[in-house]
C-alpha cells in the first residue's frame, strides 16, 4: 500500500516546509479552499473516515455537527495529548511531518467555519512541541496561516497548548477544561464539544492521525479513500506494535490486517510463545486469537476494542496478573479523581490485584472485580473509568486458572 500518513517520514528535513511543499504539500488546502465548506465535509463523509483516537466516531459527521451549530466563534482542536500506554504513533507525525497536520487542521477549520485552531500536545513531547512551533511559524510566513489564506478570504490561526502530564487530558472534554485553565476533569456528555466545547463554543476535537488523513482525501477524493483497507472502517492505520515482539514500532498498514499478519509479517514474530495481545492499549480487552482483523468492527466483535491501535503483545512467560496489576496501577494514578466509582474502583482493584500477584488473593474477589468492571462501565463519566477494568476483566475471563492458583490457601 502506498503510504499516506507516513509518506514523508524518512525524507531528510521532512519537517521543513520547503521539503513538504516539494512533495506536493498544501495542495490539498488549495483545493479545499476552492470548494464550499459543505462539500469538503461531504467528501470526508464519503471517505468513511472515523476518529483514530479511540472512539472511532465518523469524522465527517463530527464536522457537520460542529458546522451546523449557530453559536460563534467555532473552534477546531487537535488532540495531540498522546498518552495511552503503548501508543506512540502521533509523535511520529508531529516530529517528522508537522505540516501534514497543520494543512489538515486548516482544512478542518475551513470546513467547520472556525478561524482558530488549537493543538494540545502532550507536555512530555518536548522535541515535538518545538518542531510544531517551528512549523506554525513557517506556515505563517508562507501565508498558510493568518489572514486571507491564499487569497481565499478565509483566515485561520493556530495556537499550541502544552499538557501538564495528566493522561486523562487526552479525553476530549478534559482536554478542553485544561485548555480553559481548569483542572483536567472530564465533563458529562451531552452536550458534546461539537455543541458546547472550548469556552462553551462549538468545537471539533480530532486526533492527530485522524486529521492527517484529510489532505489525501481532499486530493484523491473520499471515494478513493473508502476503498482502502477494511470496507467497514476504511483507510490506513498507524499500528503501534510493542511488547514481546522482535521488531516493535509504528507501522502504517491498511485497516483490517490480522493481528497475526501484523506480528509475523511486520513485527518479525513474537519473542517466545504468544499468550495474548492488547489491541488497543491498556484500555482494551485481551485477545488470545491471532486471526482477529484489526479494524474497529472486527475487534469489537471479538470482544475488545481497537482504540488508538496500540498493539501490546504478551508472551507465555508473562504473568497475566502482573499485566492486569500494571494497568491498574496506571489507572489508579491517572484517574482524575472526580467520579467516586473510578477513583475508588481503580484503587481497590489495584489492591486486589497486588494481593493476587503476591499469592494472597481471595476467590470471591474475582467475581467482585468482574462486577466492579461492569459498574464502572455503567457509571463512570468518561472513557478512562468506563474502560479501566477491561484488561483485568478480560484477563480473569481468559485466564481464570492463573488467578485461582494465586488464591490464598
Amino acid at each position: 500500500m502506498e503510504k499516506i500518513l507516513t509518506k514523508n517520514v524518512g525524507k531528510p528535513n521532512s519537517q521543513d516546509i520547503e521539503v513538504y511543499l516539494g512533495g506536493g504539500g498544501y495542495k490539498a488546502l488549495e483545493k479545499a479552499l476552492g470548494m464550499k465548506p459543505k462539500d469538503v465535509i461531504a467528501e470526508v463523509k464519503k471517505s468513511k473516515l472515523v476518529g483514530r483516537g479511540g472512539a472511532a466516531f465518523p469524522t465527517g459527521l463530527k464536522w457537520e455537527f460542529t458546522r451546523r451549530e449557530s453559536a460563534e466563534p467555532k473552534f477546531i482542536a487537535c488532540n495531540a495529548d498522546e498518552g495511552e500506554p503503548g501508543t506512540f504513533k502521533d509523535r511520529v507525525i508531529l516530529l517528522n511531518d508537522p505540516h501534514l497536520l497543520l494543512e489538515a487542521l486548516i482544512i478542518g477549520g475551513y470546513a467547520i467555519g472556525a478561524s482558530k485552531g488549537f493543538i494540545y500536545i502532550r507536555g512530555e513531547y518536548y522535541r515535538e512541541i518545538e518542531t510544531v512551533e517551528k512549523a506554525v511559524e513557517q506556515a505563517r510566513t508562507k501565508g498558510y496561516l493568518g489572514d486571507n489564506i491564499l487569497g481565499s478570504g478565509f483566515s485561520f490561526d493556530v495556537q499550541l497548548y502544552k499538557g501538564a502530564g495528566a493522561y486523562v487530558c487526552g479525553e476530549e472534554t478534559a482536554l478542553l477544561e485544561s485548555m480553559e485553565g481548569n483542572r483536567g476533569c472530564p465533563d458529562c456528555r451531552p452536550p458534546f464539544p461539537a455543541e458546547s466545547g472550548f469556552l462553551g463554543k462549538p468545537t471539533a476535537v480530532n486526533n492527530v492521525e485522524t486529521l492527517c488523513n484529510i489532505p489525501a482525501i481532499m486530493i484523491n477524493g473520499g471515494e478513493w479513500y473508502s476503498r482502502i483497507g477494511s470496507p467497514d472502517s476504511p483507510g490506513p492505520k498507524l499500528y503501534c506494535l510493542s511488547g514481546h515482539v522482535n521488531k516493535p514500532g509504528v507501522y502504517e498498514l491498511p485497516m483490517g490486517i490480522t493481528l497475526r499478519e501484523l506480528i509475523e509479517n511486520h513485527g518479525e514474530g513474537v519473542k517466545g510463545e504468544f499468550k495474548a495481545a492488547l489491541p488497543g492499549g491498556v484500555s482494551s480487552c485481551l485477545l488470545a486469537n491471532l486471526d482477529v482483523k484489526l479494524d474497529y468492527k472486527s475487534v469489537a466483535r471479538a470482544g475488545s476494542m481497537l482504540g488508538s491501535g496500540a498493539v501490546i503483545v504478551i508472551n507465555e512467560d508473562t504473568s497475566i496478573i502482573d499485566v492486569a496489576k500494571n494497568t491498574m496501577e496506571f489507572f489508579a494514578r491517572e484517574s482524575c479523581g472526580k467520579c467516586s466509582v473510578c477513583r475508588e474502583g481503580t484503587r481497590r482493584a489495584r489492591e486486589i490485584l497486588t494481593r493476587f500477584a503476591n499469592g494472597g488473593g481471595k476467590a470471591k474477589e474475582l467475581d467482585l472485580m468482574l462486577e466492579l468492571g461492569e459498574v464502572m462501565y455503567d457509571t463512570a463519566c468518561c472513557g478512562l473509568g468506563q474502560a479501566a477494568m477491561n484488561t483485568t476483566a478480560s484477563a480473569i475471563r481468559l485466564f481464570r486458572e492463573e488467578f485461582e492458583q494465586k488464591v490464598r490457601k
Binding site: G337, S340, V341, R343, E351, L368, D378, T379
Partner: protein, 572 residues
C-alpha cells in the same frame, strides 16, 4: 414541555428539567450524594445513575436533561447494583468512626448506605490517613472523612465567591485542599461555615469550645456570663427536636441557667446598642458629608471578606463592633462595675449561629475591656449538645427572662437574625434621630424576604434615603462592585455573609435549605410584633447604659469600647 416515561409513569415537564427533578413529579426520590438543591450539579458521586432505554450506560440523573419520549428506569436491578456498589466503595474508603463522629445524627452517607441496603463492604484495603486541617480558629477539616462530593468547593466558589478550597492532586490522592495546602487559617477563608452545611459527612466541622466552657462553668473562681445571638431563639429548639421555627427564648435562658451560667444576658441587648451607634454614625455621615454608602459591620464573615477582597471600601464600613463584641467589651466593664465583680474573674461566653464569630473573638483588637472581650463562642449545635449532655429536658423547661441589665431587648434587635433585619432596625432609629418623630410604618417590607439583593427607598424629612440589603457573599460582590465603581446609588447597605443572614449561619442546625432559613426569620418577625418595645431607642436598658455609663452614642466611651478598625489583608 417534554413528555417522558419514568418507571412506566408518564410525566410532562419543562424542557431543560433534569431527570432527577422530573422524577420528583412522579413521587420518586432518586438517591444521590453530591447533588444538593441550591448548588449546580457536578455529578461526582455517580450514585444518581438511571437507566435510559437505548443508552449503553447509566446516566447521572442530576444533570441529564429530559428529552421527548425518553424512557427512564430509576429502580432496575442494574441501577440498584451500581448504586450499592458505589456506596460500598465510598464506605471502603471512609474513616468510619461513626459513634464519635460530629455528624452521627446527620450523616447523609450513613443514611444512604442504610436506605440502599448496603450490608457488607466487600472491598478491603487502605483507608486514608491525612492530617487534619486545624489552622483555622473556626473550622476544622478532616480529609479522612471527605467523600470528594465537591459540595463545599461549589458553595465556596459559586455561592460565596471566596474560592479558598478546591480539588488538588489526582487519582487516589485527590483531595479537597486550600492553596498550596496552606490550611484554612492561612488563606482568604471568611469562616462563614457554609461548607459545613453542605458537607454530607463529618469532613468539616466547627472548632468546638464545649470542653473549655464546661471547664469554666466548673471553675468556682470564674463568673460565667452568657449572651445569645438574636436568631438563637428561632433555631435552638430545632436542634433539640422541636419543630422548625419554634420560639424558645425563654426555654433557652432557663437551659443556660441550668447548665450553670452565672448570668444570662442577651446579645439582643447589644444589638439594640449597635443600632444606637450605627444609626448615629449614618446620620452623622449623611449630615456631615462623610463617606457613603455606609455598610453594616455586624457580620464577621463579611468583614474578613471585605478585608481580603475589598479593602478599598474600609472607609465605607461602619466602625461599630458587632453586637457580640460590644457585649463582650461591656460584660467586662459596665457589668463588672455594676455587679462589683473583678473583670479578671469574668468569663464571657457567646452562643452564636456562626462559625466566623469564633474567629472574631480572637482578633487582637477585640480586647478593649483590657481582657479578651469574649472568651468562648459556642454554635447553636454546640449548645444543643451541651443541653443534651446535661440531660436537660428542653421541651418542658419553663420560660425565663434574661437578666435585665444587659438582657432586655426590642423587636428591632430580634430581627437582626434574618437578612434585612439590621437594615430595618437601623432605619427605625435613624428616622427618629433625624426627624425627632417615630417611623409610622414600622414594618419595612421591601427589605424582608429571601431575594439575594433587596432595595428600598425611605423618605426621611424630604431626603430619599436609598438602601440595599445583600446576603450571601456572591450577592454582596454585586453590590460592592457598584460601590467600588462609584456607581452605587445607596446611602446604607446591609451585608450578611451567609445566605439568609444569621438564620443560615455556619453554626446553625445542619442544612442548606433556604426555606427553612426563611421559617426561622418568620419566627423573629413574629417575636418582633409581640414585644413591648420595637425600636432600639425605646429599650429601657439601652437608655440606662447611656445614662449610667456610655453617656452618648459616638461619645468617648463608646468610641473606646464599641467601635473598631479594619485591616487590609492579603489575597494570595
Amino acid at each position: 414541555m417534554v413528555t417522558l416515561t419514568i418507571n412506566g409513569k408518564q410525566v410532562t415537564v419543562l424542557e431543560g428539567t433534569s431527570i432527577m427533578n422530573a422524577a420528583k413529579q412522579v413521587h420518586i426520590n432518586i438517591p444521590h450524594l453530591c447533588y444538593l438543591e441550591g448548588l449546580e450539579p457536578e455529578y461526582h458521586c455517580r450514585v444518581c445513575g438511571v437507566e435510559i432505554e437505548g443508552e449503553p450506560r447509566l446516566a447521572p440523573s442530576c444533570v441529564r436533561q429530559v428529552s421527548e419520549g425518553m424512557k427512564v428506569q430509576t429502580n432496575s436491578a442494574r441501577v440498584r447494583r451500581a448504586r450499592r456498589m458505589i456506596v460500598e466503595l465510598l464506605l471502603a474508603d471512609h474513616y468510619t468512626d461513626c459513634p464519635t463522629c460530629e455528624r452521627n445524627q446527620t450523616c447523609e452517607l450513613l443514611k444512604l448506605a442504610f436506605e440502599l441496603g448496603v450490608k457488607e463492604i466487600r472491598f478491603e484495603g487502605e483507608k486514608p490517613h491525612y492530617e487534619l486541617d486545624e489552622t483555622s480558629p473556626a473550622i476544622i477539616r478532616d480529609p479522612n472523612k471527605c467523600v470528594l462530593c465537591g459540595r463545599c468547593v461549589r458553595v465556596c466558589h459559586d455561592v460565596q465567591t471566596v474560592s479558598v478550597i478546591g480539588f488538588v492532586n489526582r487519582g487516589l490522592e485527590t483531595m479537597v485542599s486550600t492553596f498550596m495546602e496552606n490550611g484554612l487559617g492561612n488563606v482568604e477563608c471568611t469562616n462563614c461555615g457554609q461548607c459545613i452545611h453542605v458537607c454530607p459527612v463529618g469532613a468539616i466541622k466547627e472548632k468546638s469550645a464545649v470542653d473549655e466552657v464546661w471547664a469554666a462553668l466548673a471553675d468556682l473562681e470564674k463568673h460565667v456570663v452568657v449572651q445569645e445571638a438574636p436568631v438563637m431563639r428561632a433555631s435552638l429548639g430545632e436542634e433539640l427536636g422541636l419543630p422548625a421555627g419554634t420560639l424558645v427564648a425563654g426555654k433557652m435562658h432557663a437551659a443556660l441557667r441550668r447548665l450553670g451560667f452565672d448570668t444570662v444576658f442577651e446579645t439582643n441587648f447589644s444589638a439594640d446598642l449597635t443600632i444606637m451607634e450605627e444609626a448615629s454614625e449614618l446620620v452623622k455621615r449623611v449630615k456631615e458629608g462623610g463617606v457613603l454608602p455606609q455598610i453594616t459591620s455586624c457580620c464577621p464573615g463579611w468583614i474578613t471578606f471585605m478585608e481580603h477582597f475589598y479593602p478599598d471600601l474600609i472607609p465605607n464600613v461602619s466602625t461599630c463592633k458587632s453586637p457580640q463584641q460590644m457585649f463582650g467589651a461591656l460584660s467586662k466593664t459596665y457589668y463588672a462595675e455594676k455587679a462589683g465583680i473583678d473583670p479578671a474573674r469574668i468569663v464571657s461566653v457567646s452562643i452564636m449561629p456562626c462559625t466566623a464569630k469564633k474567629f472574631e473573638t480572637q482578633r487582637p483588637e477585640m480586647a478593649d475591656s483590657g481582657f479578651q472581650d469574649v472568651d468562648y463562642v459556642l454554635t447553636t449545635r454546640e449548645l444543643a449538645r451541651m443541653i443534651k449532655e446535661a440531660g436537660i429536658d428542653f421541651a418542658s423547661l419553663p420560660d425565663e427572662p434574661a437578666e435585665e441589665l444587659m438582657g432586655l431587648y426590642s423587636g428591632a434587635a430580634t430581627i437582626f437574625g434574618i437578612t434585612g433585619g439590621v437594615m430595618e432596625a437601623a432605619l427605625r432609629t435613624a428616622y427618629k434621630l433625624v426627624t425627632g418623630k417615630e417611623l409610622e410604618k414600622i414594618d419595612i417590607e421591601p427589605v424582608r424576604g429571601l431575594d439575594g439583593i433587596k432595595t428600598a427607598t425611605l423618605n426621611v424629612d424630604g431626603l430619599e434615603v436609598e438602601v440595599a440589603v445583600a446576603h450571601g457573599l456572591g450577592n454582596a460582590r454585586k453590590v460592592l462592585d457598584e460601590v467600588r465603581a462609584g456607581k452605587s446609588p445607596y446611602h446604607f447597605i446591609e451585608i450578611m455573609a451567609c445566605p439568609g443572614g444569621c438564620a443560615g449561619g455556619g453554626g446553625q442546625p445542619i442544612g442548606f435549605d433556604m426555606a427553612l432559613r426563611g421559617i426561622r426569620g418568620q419566627t423573629l418577625y413574629a417575636e418582633d410584633r409581640q414585644l413591648p418595645y420595637r425600636r432600639s431607642h425605646d429599650n429601657p436598658s439601652i437608655k440606662k447604659v447611656y445614662e449610667d455609663y456610655l453617656k452618648e452614642p459616638l461619645g468617648e466611651k463608646s468610641h473606646h469600647l464599641l467601635h473598631t478598625k479594619y485591616t487590609k489583608r492579603e489575597v494570595v
